[in-house]
């Protein structure tokens, strides 16, 4: 299969999709979006690279091991929950405030965003891990059978 077009376009897509994912993540509290969707979108972006090139290439895009995403994401989510618990509020009690930033104007800052960031990281980590492991298994098997990777 001729992958020329896909291989030319997909790196650009990577930026667009990731940027859009960040956009979805940040606006999630007030408009359609959120950590889960943004995470899925990021996974989709990574998978696109895996399809266009190969899984090793996709893996190297983010040189941080996927396990770290899971761990840091869970810690972040649990941490935003424990924070209020330490001050006597219920576990996972979220709060928010408005700050006035130069250039951006009035910006709402929520602790929920950090929780959502945790969700995002977990989804990215899990998705990347599952999909690349499956792709990786295919690759190692292909190597063993001495066949060409079907991506070529």
């Amino acid at each position: 299969m001729n992958m020329l077009i896909l291989r030319t376009v997909s790196p650009i897509h990577l930026y667009i999709m990731t940027l859009f994912a960040v956009h979805l993540l940040l606006r999630g509290h007030n408009a359609p979006g959120g950590g889960f969707i943004a995470g899925l979108l990021t996974v989709a972006a990574i998978i696109l690279q895996a399809v266009a090139f190969n899984s090793r290439h996709a893996e190297n895009l983010l040189p941080i091991p996927a396990g770290w995403f899971l761990g840091i994401g869970l810690l972040l989510a649990a941490g935003t929950g424990l924070g209020p618990a330490l001050t006597g509020a219920p576990f996972l009690d979220q709060t928010f405030t408005h700050v006035n930033l130069p250039f951006f104007g009035d910006v709402e800052v929520t602790t929920a965003l950090f929780f959502d960031l945790g969700v995002y990281l977990v989804v990215v980590g899990a998705g990347k891990w599952i999909l690349l492991t499956i792709a990786d298994e295919r690759r190692t098997e292909d190597e063993h059978q001495g066949e060409q990777p079907s991506g070529g």
Partner: protein, 797 residues
């Protein structure tokens, strides 16, 4: 003050948690660190000695108040007795284990389990809420399992651990069911609250089943016939464990339970006759079986079974005498039996054998051990002036004054008690005379003798070790020596403990403080006569043991409860295997068929019943666009099934997902639509990625019946799903809470996107759980696939 009690309960668990760290720092000295905990707890609980209040301390911490499950710490006389036992014997056992455990043992594991057990056992005796009591009750079973299986490389350890676990956990489940019935009858899980409704419970139809289930729990834990078989098997544990769990504390948990509940459920003929029958039969059979053991530890195990059978009826009778006798014998038994276990451990340690027929003449080689052994064993037989005599007299006295008047049953209990005591005397003499004064028999003359696993058969001669045996270092003897000291002191002057502890125990179990009744000097009367008969006949039996041995062996072994246990275990395996074979075919399609089929049957039944019972179908009007989208969903689904080439089928499947997200857009759910699209895209890619692994699709060659079943389940599931959603909309039983989310999303959550605010704020805990599950799923998928790749690599190379 109550706070200290909570700390006392949590201390062992906290210490167990830091054991691995402490082990790094302390290494082989870990035992000394662990020792401080039971000693500190023992000292703390000692401060309560002296008064005979019904309840010393009580405080309730809320745990799950909505279900009536709370952390009600209660210290009464009965729990005080047990806390002293747990921490006192615990201290001695930990101290003993420092010298007993070799340098190669995994100390960190051992002490973690011991502390875990200590905490669990304290929980059982201190917690008044039935559910928390049950939780700690099971924790003792689990820690016992871990400790019996401590030497997990030996098969008998594993089997013993499993046997004890299966039997005690079965009893534990029965206990839970019994508690549930009590809740139904009395409306509370709190013991004190239930006490106030005592008459209500006693007159309830659930009284007898609840009592029977609680008995099942108590009898399995306290190794009553026919559940006694786990206790001898548990002797595979290291000796400190046997001394601690399987003679002094855990096996007495059943007694504790009966003593505690006799206040609530006791006082009826059903209660008394059941407890007394089981106890008496256990006392008799345990003694008989102890006589035919060749292993010292097995002998002690059956002796423990028998002694537990002696104590248990005391708390079933509910008379002042019996409660006092039971309390006294719990402590007395713990002292002499704990000492005997530790001494047998020493003999095992020094001579490398526990076989009675190999041991002999230890009097000269291990004089101090022999002396302690003789005193402890004679106390067990009930010889004056040791503590065994004191409590046994009282037990006989109590047996002669049954609560519902004498009849043929109570007389048979008396006869069984005397007969059991005859056996007790005989096997006590084996300990006090045979192995101390008897000849050393050359190992090759012993029939059926097998060399221990770890030893070199060619160079092993048991006699050599027995000949060379000598007393162990003094610290190892300290524990048993202290206990034997107590045996003597309590035999001569038990009165301080009677007025400070035994009476308090009886008060907690009866509701009123009994009179002083212990006497140390022999008093002419029926009890003394029974004791003399037991001692005389027992001595006679011991002298003629060779002659009656054949008679003892003649009892058919196939009558053993072990046969029943093994048959039950085999049946369980067979049933599980047959279920496995029918269901676990290895084909995903079969699993889906079974699972979905079961769901269809179960839910279909309740839907049909509900529709007949007047459920309403309240359907909204359908717009044209919805019809179009749904039509496309249906077309896509049918195509996905019918098409036999992969890419087209995949596209058809993708179109279903795309149409569903379109429907979400119609219904103003942009978040759902976005998520659905993303999931659809990613899963499509996933399928493409695994394409190379899938076999070529060929024409289905399944039988007609199989296909019919598939079609029926598929259509049924679709029908059911649509009916459920239609019914769910039409029948609202609770007021919807969605308006709360709509109103509070901005003021409380600070977000205009309600879906997101629900996810991260209102229902943040759910999301927390979901991402945890997601992480676990990712980890498992990776582990599974990696394992596959590795095994395939191994095969090809």
């Amino acid at each position: 003050m109550t706070r200290y009690l909570l700390i006392a309960l949590l201390l062992p668990f906290a210490a167990a948690g830091i054991i691995p760290l402490a082990y790094r720092g302390l290494g082989r000295r870990l035992g000394w660190f662990v020792l401080t905990i039971p000693i500190a707890l023992f000292a703390y609980f000692l401060t309560f000695l002296g008064s005979v209040d019904a309840v010393y301390l009580r405080h309730t911490w809320q745990w799950v108040p909505s279900l009536g499950i709370n952390f009600s710490l209660t210290l009464d006389g009965l729990s005080l007795l047990f806390t002293l036992l747990i921490t006192g014997i615990g201290s001695l056992v930990v101290f003993y284990s420092i010298y007993y455990l070799g340098s190669r043992e995994d100390l960190s594991k051992f002490y973690t389990y011991i502390l875990l057990f200590m905490g669990a056992m304290l929980g059982v005796v201190l917690l008044d809420n039935l559910i928390t009591l049950y939780i700690f009750w099971e924790l003792t079973s689990i820690s016992s399992f871990l400790l019996i299986g401590f030497w997990h490389t030996r098969s008998e350890s594993r089997e013993g651990a499993l046997k004890s676990m299966l039997l005690t956990v079965m009893g534990g489940l029965a206990l839970l069911a019994g508690f549930a019935l009590l809740y139904v009858a009395g409306g509370s899980y709190d013991f004190r609250e239930l006490l106030e409704r005592k008459e209500l419970i006693a007159s309830s139809v659930y009284y007898v089943p609840a009592v029977a289930l609680i008995f099942l729990g108590a009898f399995t834990k306290s190794a009553q016939v026919p559940f006694h078989i786990w206790l001898p098997a548990a002797m595979a544990a290291p000796t400190p464990v046997s001394a601690y769990l399987h003679s002094a504390t855990m096996v007495k948990a059943g007694i504790f339970l009966i003593a505690k509940f006799s206040l609530l459920l006791g006082g009826t003929p059903f209660w008394y006759y059941t407890v007394a029958s089981f106890g008496s039969v256990t006392l008799f059979l345990g003694g008989l079986l102890a006589l035919r053991q060749v292993d010292l530890k097995a002998l002690l195990a059956f002796s423990t079974v028998s002694q537990l059978g002696l104590i248990i009826p005391m708390f079933g009778m509910g008379t002042e005498l019996s409660a006092l006798a039971g309390a006294a014998h719990i402590i007395h038994h713990a002292t002499f039996k704990g000492a005997l276990f530790m001494l047998v451990g020493i003999i095992d340690h020094q001579t490398l054998t526990r076989r009675i027929d190999l041991l002999g003449d230890l009097r000269r080689r291990m004089p101090i051990t022999a002396l302690l052994m003789a005193i402890a064993a004679l106390s067990m037989a009930g010889v004056w002036p040791l503590n065994g005599f004191v409590s046994k007299e009282l037990i006989f006295e109590a047996l002669l004054a049954p609560p519902f008047g004498p009849n043929v049953w109570t007389w048979s209990f008396v006869v069984l008690a005397v007969a059991g005591s005859v056996f007790t005397t005989a096997y006590s003499l084996i300990l006090a005379h045979r192995i101390l004064f008897g000849r050393v028999v050359p190992a090759r003359h012993v029939t059926g003798y097998k060399v221990d696993e770890g030893l070199d058969e060619d160079h092993f001669d048991a006699n050599e070790f027995v000949e060379r045996a000598h007393d162990p270092p003094a610290p190892m003897l300290l524990g048993p020596a202290l206990l034997v000291g107590l045996v003597v002191v309590l035999g001569i002057y038990p009165f301080p403990l009677e007025s400070s502890l035994y009476q308090a125990v009886a008060a907690a179990s009866l509701g009123s403080v009994p009179h002083h009744s212990l006497h140390t000097l022999p008093v002419i009367g029926w009890p003394l006569l029974m004791s003399l008969v037991a001692l005389g006949a027992g001595a006679l039996l011991y002298v003629n043991l060779e002659r009656v041995a054949q008679f003892l062996e003649a009892t058919p072994r196939r009558w053993s409860a072990n046969v029943l246990y093994e048959a039950a275990l085999r049946t369980l395996h067979r049933v599980a295997e047959s279920v496995d074979r029918t269901q676990m075919t290895g084909f995903l399609r079969d699993y889906v068929l079974f699972t979905v089929g079961a769901v269809v049957l179960l839910m279909g039944y309740s839907i049909v019943r509900g529709l007949l019972g007047g459920l309403r179908l309240d359907l909204a009007p359908v717009t044209l666009w919805e019809v179009v989208a749904l039509g496309l969903v249906a077309v896509g689904a049918i195509m996905a099934v019918v098409l036999h080439r992969r890419i087209p089928a995949l596209i058809a499947l993708g179109s279903v997902g795309a149409m569903v997200s379109l429907l979400f857009v119609f219904w103003n759910a942009p978040d759902l639509a976005l998520t659905q699209l993303m999931v659809e895209a990613i899963s499509t890619v996933l399928i493409v990625v695994v394409f190379s692994r899938l076999p070529q699709i060929s024409r289905e060659s399944a039988s007609g019946r199989y296909r019919a079943a598939n079609i029926a389940v598929a259509v049924g599931f679709g029908l059911m799903a649509s009916l459920v959603s239609a019914i769910a909309l039409g029948n609202v039983y609770f007021e919807s809470i969605s308006h709360y989310f709509v109103e509070n999303s901005i003021p409380l959550g600070g977000g205009a996107n309600i879906v997101n605010v629900i996810l991260v704020d209102f229902r943040g805990f759910d999301t927390m759980g979901e991402i945890t599950v997601l992480s676990i799923a990712a980890l498992s998928i990776r582990a599974l696939l990696r394992a596959r790749v590795k095994s395939q690599r191994g095969k090809t190379s």
